[in-house]
């Protein structure tokens, strides 16, 4: 249950990050999701990524809407502020919070019902606004809490538990994001933590909205034969388009050394971000270019038409300008500005009054 805290017992040998925190410090309350739910694996990946990035827990804000996915913000980072808002509206609440305090790490967790149906408009406009937010969609093609209705991401022909095929075309968040200017688009699979953790790390560090679609099977309502969002189907059709690693600024290996570093002999392409961090792509698909929006879009369409589920850090715009860059706001978080800087005072008011004579 969400109100049952996990016992905070620490083994002295637990590995610590640079803040001296163990992975346990990044955990939340006990999950109430079904045993085997893909979302719990996403939670585990989030904990791992946040720990590896050594995010001070109280400097993160976890934002969510409503649904199974949105519950997960309670299951990691207990010492972070969380906001479980209303159905489909996490993007606007996150936008406001980010406008008020640009310095926090915003982690938004949503689902396919929350983001692709009731909240589709909010998703699109948050993408356009490009606020600095990790936006995870835990995508299982189905409504869990209301017991098994198709969601907007269900594939054509995918069968419900009762065997009824879905006959409406799906909304693909990755294609959608690419078409409306998302500056970071990724797709992962809850069953592949090794791939997901670097994506989340890069997404958190990305200066803008990082849209991460995670196929996260619903073991209760959508994990049967005939479903295209099941563990088995996803494993079978999973195709890693590109392997990406997030390299923090201090870890960045200068290009001259990279071939001899641990990357091996595979072709490597580094995309350097504004803050000096680097996303290092090891190209598994020949000439795949994760900074070419149109090419990525074409590639996704092609692979999906071939029945595959292309995954990886699919697209990144190294020139991303976030909400505050566009608005031109001051560096200091707006909420924290001293009143003297905000209120022009009586003298200014007197002068202003002359304009209304």
């Amino acid at each position: 249950m969400t109100y049952i805290a996990k016992p905070r017992v620490f083994h002295p040998s637990l590995e610590k990050n640079e803040l001296g925190l163990t992975r346990r410090d990044y955990e939340g309350v006990m999950s109430t999701l079904c045993a085997g739910c893909g979302h719990d694996s996403v939670t585990a990946a989030l904990i791992e990524a946040a720990w590896e990035l050594a995010i001070p827990t109280h400097r993160a804000a976890k934002m969510s809407g409503i649904g199974c996915s949105s519950k997960t913000t309670a299951y990691f980072m207990s010492e972070s502020h969380g906001f479980n808002s209303v159905h489909g509206r996490m993007p606007s609440v996150a936008s406001g919070a980010n406008a008020a305090n640009r310095d926090l790490v915003y982690i938004g967790v949503s689902g396919d019902g929350d983001s692709l149906s009731i909240g589709l408009g909010q998703l699109c406009h948050a993408v356009r606004r490009n606020l600095n937010l990790l936006y995870i969609i835990e995508n299982n093609g189905v409504y869990g809490l209301t017991k098994g209705q198709f969601s907007a991401s269900a594939d054509m022909g995918s069968k419900s538990k009762r065997g009824v095929p879905n006959e409406q075309p799906p909304i693909d968040p990755a294609l959608l994001g690419l078409s409306i200017g998302a500056t970071f688009v990724a797709r992962g699979f809850s069953g592949d933590k090794d791939q997901l953790v670097p994506i989340i790390k890069a997404g958190i560090r990305h200066p803008g909205l990082a849209l991460v679609d995670v196929i996260s099977p619903c073991v209760t309502f959508n994990d049967h034969v005939g479903s295209t969002k099941s563990y088995a189907y996803t494993r079978e059709h999973f195709r890693e388009a590109v392997e990406a690693a997030f390299v923090a600024p201090k870890d960045f290996v200068p290009p001259a050394d990279e071939i001899t570093a641990d990357i091996g002999s595979a072709e490597v392409r580094d995309v350097r971000m504004h803050d000096g961090s680097v996303i290092r792509f090891r190209q598994v698909e020949g000439d795949y270019d994760a900074t070419d929006r149109d090419a990525v879009y074409g590639y996704l369409r092609e692979r999906q038409n071939a029945g595959e589920v292309p995954t990886g850090l699919l697209y990144v715009d190294p020139e991303s300008r976030d909400l505050h860059d566009v608005l031109g706001t001051v560096d200091r978080p707006l909420w924290d500005l001293p009143f003297e800087e905000l209120c022009p005072g009586s003298e200014a008011l007197d002068a202003l009054m002359e304009n209304y004579r």
């Binding site: 808002s85 509206r89 996150a94 406001g96 980010n98 305090n101 707006l334 005072g345």
Partner: protein, 610 residues
């Protein structure tokens, strides 16, 4: 022989929207204001960009009664499409100024009206080049004719034009003044000027300004320290955020960097606008959204969240005629109940009801203080009349000693003094818990949710735990009754009856009270409600009168309903006078309605025109 009516008349200007008449009308209004004479201007405009009829109503009253009146002494009819209606609306003995470049049909003539034809188009075609210029100048030219007919000070007009155009736009200044001269000279040469309705300089506006409520509210937001504004364009609230944006460009720019100390986000819809304001309030900023009733309808789910999760934020509702799209460019007080209880489940909200732009400025600041002190959404219910029309109000003043009331916020220091922080615990017994700002201190972290929660902030489905929190919130909101602006009460000796109203009705009701006392010897007490939940004085006023007539601008007597629901006052003590056709209230309708309710009616309320 007509007697002179100095500084006491009403005129109306009928034009086609999109022809630039707004600047001409504003010039007339501002000139009268600069002459020191109390004046009001009401823009009666269509929901349209170009080509439909639009009117501007000006009332001049040396005694300061400038509520709208439906009795027009002079009408400037520049739109042939509305000639018939315009002529109909003149009082007997009135004047119609029209463009005589084209003949006026004889069938339109009215015996008791004096027709003043000025060949405005003809003169402007002769004098100016270019179609657009000629149309614009035609409007400026009627200003000149009015200056002659009403005795508007030409030096004042000249001065205003110079301020508008300055030396840089000398050619525009010259053209405008030439157009004014055309109208002025024609009127002087052809009519007996001035008319018996005319102006005389006074000294009644020296300490006043001419400002609309949306601009005033925006300025209030700047002074209150608001840093996040989220909105979706909707008439008649759009100009509030436009004004906030313009002020921030002047007053909220960081030296050196030129960067902004405010974030203004145009959202995809009102739902998102509410979400952004709530998110920002949660993160510690003073945040607001501005909308109209249709927007509030969309925001109600979020409003419930802010109420239950106890997030401070301010909602400006610039009311317009509903339901549904209604009449977007007409005024009403139709959102009183909506805002008082917005959202599903048990909710109740602090609402402020400014009467004019001066109170819009003042109440904006109150609204942020109340929102933070009570950790809840606060509504400022203005309306189209207040928000979009220019009003003569006292100059705004500011106390430099003011500091925002952030309410009970625990910072790192405060958190260090307590063992464990619980977001929804009523530590002080006043119903208001402590909150923290996200990111400030690990000890202050908590989980905010719109789902059932305990006083410790944990999820719950337990009946007692749920009720404990929701009951505490009720106490908190009830306690706000003592903190909100008290009603304005004006008592006359021996008055048996009370008139109760709110917001923009104030001017018309006070004028009606004075006239009924002067003309009928009727003494009436007055109470203008300024906020909800109702201050204790409200119920006392009702109980002190045999009958209270509640005057408001909606069909369903929403304020009266709210008084019945939220005070112990008996229903029998309350009656209604209601006007809700979309035009600002006038004293004439109040008088007719009140007399009717008191059984004194010479004419019934229904017998009074628009």
């Amino acid at each position: 022989m007509k007697t002179d009516r100095v500084n006491d008349f009403a005129l109306k200007i009928g034009t086609v929207n999109g022809t630039g008449s707004a600047s001409a009308n504003g010039l007339i209004m501002q000139s009268i204001f600069r002459m020191g004479v109390p004046v009001s201007g009401k823009n009666v405009f269509p929901s349209n960009i170009q080509g439909l009829p639009t009117w501007y109503e000006i009332r001049v009253n040396g005694s300061g009664h400038v509520a709208r009146t439906p009795d027009f002494d002079l009408i400037v009819a520049m739109n042939p499409e509305t000639y018939a209606r315009d002529i109909e609306e003149l009082v007997p003995g009135g004047w119609l100024l029209y463009d005589s470049s084209w003949p006026m049909a004889d069938t339109l003539r009215r015996e008791e009206v004096t027709f003043l034809g000025v060949p405005l188009a003809e003169m402007c075609v002769k004098t100016f080049d270019g179609g657009r210029t000629r149309i614009l100048m035609k409007n400026i030219a009627y200003t000149g004719a009015l200056a002659a007919l009403l005795d508007i000070d030409m030096d004042v007009i000249r001065g205003l034009l110079e301020e508008t155009f300055g030396e840089k736009k000398r050619h525009l200044l010259d053209a405008n003044f030439e157009a004014i001269r055309l109208g002025y000279d024609y009127a002087t040469d052809n009519f007996e000027c001035p008319l018996p309705i005319r102006l005389e300089g006074m000294d009644a506006t020296r300490d006043s300004i001419l400002i609309d409520g949306n601009t005033a509210a925006a300025l209030g937001c700047v002074y209150a320290g608001a840093t996040v504004a989220a909105w979706y364009p909707i008439t008649p609230s759009t100009s509030l955020v436009d004004a906030f944006t313009a002020y921030c460009r002047r007053l909220r720019v960081e030296d050196g960097t030129g960067r902004s100390r405010a974030a203004i986000l145009q959202a995809e819809d009102e739902l998102a606008a509410a979400g952004i304001a709530i998110g920002a309030g949660w993160a510690g900023a003073r945040a607001f959204t501005a909308t109209s009733g249709a927007g509030i309808s969309l925001m109600t789910e979020f409003i419930g969240l802010a109420y239950y999760a106890e997030v401070p934020c301010v909602f400006f509702d610039i009311e317009r005629v509903g339901p549904s799209t209604g009449m977007p460019t007409r005024t009403q007080q139709g959102d009183i109940l909506l805002c008082a209880y917005a959202s599903h489940g048990d909710t109740k909200h602090i609402c402020l009801y400014p009467k004019d732009p001066a109170e819009c400025f003042e109440f904006s600041v109150h609204a942020f203080d109340l929102a933070e002190r009570f950790q809840t959404p606060v509504f400022v219910l203005s309306d189209l009349d207040i928000g979009m029309n220019d009003w003569v109000v006292p100059r705004f003043e500011w106390d430099d000693g003011y500091r925002p009331d952030r309410g009970k916020v625990l910072d790192a220091e405060g958190l260090a003094e307590i063992e464990t922080f619980y977001r929804y615990l009523d530590v002080d017994g006043d119903g208001i818990p402590y909150r923290t700002i996200p990111g400030e201190d690990p000890k202050g972290a908590y989980f905010t949710r719109g789902s059932g929660h305990t006083k410790y902030g944990k999820y719950t489905e337990d009946p007692d735990e749920y009720q404990e929190v929701i009951d505490r919130i009720a106490v908190k909101i009830d306690n706000a009754a003592e903190a909100v602006p008290a009603p304005e009460i004006r008592s006359r000796p021996d008055a048996r009856y009370g008139l109760i109203t709110l917001g923009a009705c104030d001017g018309a009701v006070r004028e009606a009270i004075e006239r009924m006392e002067a003309e009928d010897g009727l003494r009436l007490d007055y109470m203008r409600i300024r906020a909800f939940p109702f201050a204790p004085e409200v119920a006392r006023f009702i109980e002190a009168h045999d009958l209270n007539i509640v005057i408001e601008q909606n069909r369903d007597a929403q304020l009266k309903s709210l008084l019945t629901l939220e005070t112990a006052a008996s229903k029998e003590r309350l009656a209604s006078v209601l006007r809700y056709g979309g035009l600002p209230l006038s004293a004439r309708h109040v008088i007719a309605g009140v007399k009717d309710r008191l059984g004194l009616a010479a004419e019934t309320a229904e017998g009074v025109g628009a």
